[in-house]
């Protein structure tokens, strides 16, 4: 399952989802919660290779991480913030690929995208180990999605690529790369 998480103001990710449905012969599920509605928390969804799920976060209430560390040391694996994030996190943890579709600010991803990434801590444990030459947290689950980024605006591509790679190692998986929205054909080719 490919999960597209769209935080862009212009909802650029929807174009990608439509293209995948039209030319990729994939089943596209659009999750576009309306104002006040929550993303449905369902595991009944088809987690199959054929499925692309698109989530528009505009009307989702997603807080920043407070850094309480409860998801490691008090309620392991669960974030205690009661907002719309948990159903998204469950989808992330089940997906094969997660593509962030993000606007950029100061050359980096927008705070909306960064908030989503900062809240990933429940999918790793407090326990540490070495991966290559650096310390990392041990993943909580056996399956972890690969990460890719498609961005709008003037992104600092070198640093975004470094970020994506480091994040992927942190979450025991690999980076699918970083692509400008206007040149994201190659990214779409990798979505499987």
């Amino acid at each position: 399952m490919v999960l597209l998480i769209d935080t862009t103001e212009e909802k650029k990710g929807k174009d990608i989802a439509f293209l995948l449905g039209k030319y990729g012969n994939r089943t596209v599920i659009l999750d576009i919660p309306k104002e006040g509605n929550r993303l449905v928390d369902s595991f009944e969804m088809k987690y199959s290779e054929d499925v692309v799920e698109y989530v528009d976060t505009e009307h989702m209430n997603i807080s920043h991480c407070f850094g309480c560390n409860f998801c490691w040391l008090k309620t392991p694996g669960k974030c205690v913030i009661n907002d719309d994030y948990e159903p998204l996190l469950k989808r992330i943890s089940r997906a094969d690929q997660v593509w962030l579709v993000s606007d950029t600010r100061f050359g980096f991803v927008s705070y909306k995208t960064k908030n989503i990434m900062d809240r990933l801590m429940p999918i790793v444990t407090m326990n540490l180990h070495y991966v290559g030459d650096q310390m990392r947290h041990i993943a909580r689950y056996d399956h972890n999605p690969d990460w890719g980024l498609i961005y709008t605006g003037e992104g600092d591509k070198d640093n975004l690529s470094l970020w994506c790679e480091r994040v992927a190692v942190n979450f025991s998986t690999k980076s699918l790369g970083v692509f400008e929205f206007d040149k994201c054909g190659e990214a779409i080719g990798c979505m499987q």
Binding site: G67, P76, G107, H129, M135, Y141
Partner: protein, 217 residues
Amino acid sequence: MHAVIINGSPRVSKHSNTERIIDSFAEGLALSGASYERYAISDKDNWDSAREAYIKNTEIIIALPLYVECVPGILLEFLETLPVKDETTRISFILQGGFAEAKQLECGKAFLDKLPGYLGVSYGGTLIKGDNFGIRVLKESEVQKIITPYRNMGKAFVDEDGFKPETVKKFAGPEIFSLPIRLMLQLMFMTLARKNYRDIAKGWGCKVPIDYRPWSA
């Protein structure tokens, strides 16, 4: 020198490691004759006063924790609310993280090196240091060992007029650890560290193992 110090952590000040680091750093500033005022952005009610201070002053230091390899989302949001200023304002950063090696901070540092350019201001450098996770959970004597060295960095900031590359490099410690040290740490992670985390979790009222899986992925 009069510095505005902003804590960019989302953690409430009482639990924030950055706050303790600033305590020590600010002592050093004062020892070298500088004055300072402090702000924290964890409570959004304080954003207006922090922004006002940023606008009115010319020596700004933002201290922040590394969050998922870069700046915390909440700080990115705050930065978006700052007006562009000119080069008479200087901004510097203290970037601190949980993992111990200096290399872990490379992506955050690269972002901060370019940030002043986006804000239109000049740059006074970024101090980087890992191995700060314990501040929140260790006993006070151990905490002092971690935070005291920041006092000298406060002095150096005034005496050397900013964070100078040689000082930063020395303070940051090794980029990565040597293989024998890594092997020793790995052994510790598998034994003593696990026990310590279990004990902390118990103290926090945790009812399940810390590698518990609330759902199957």
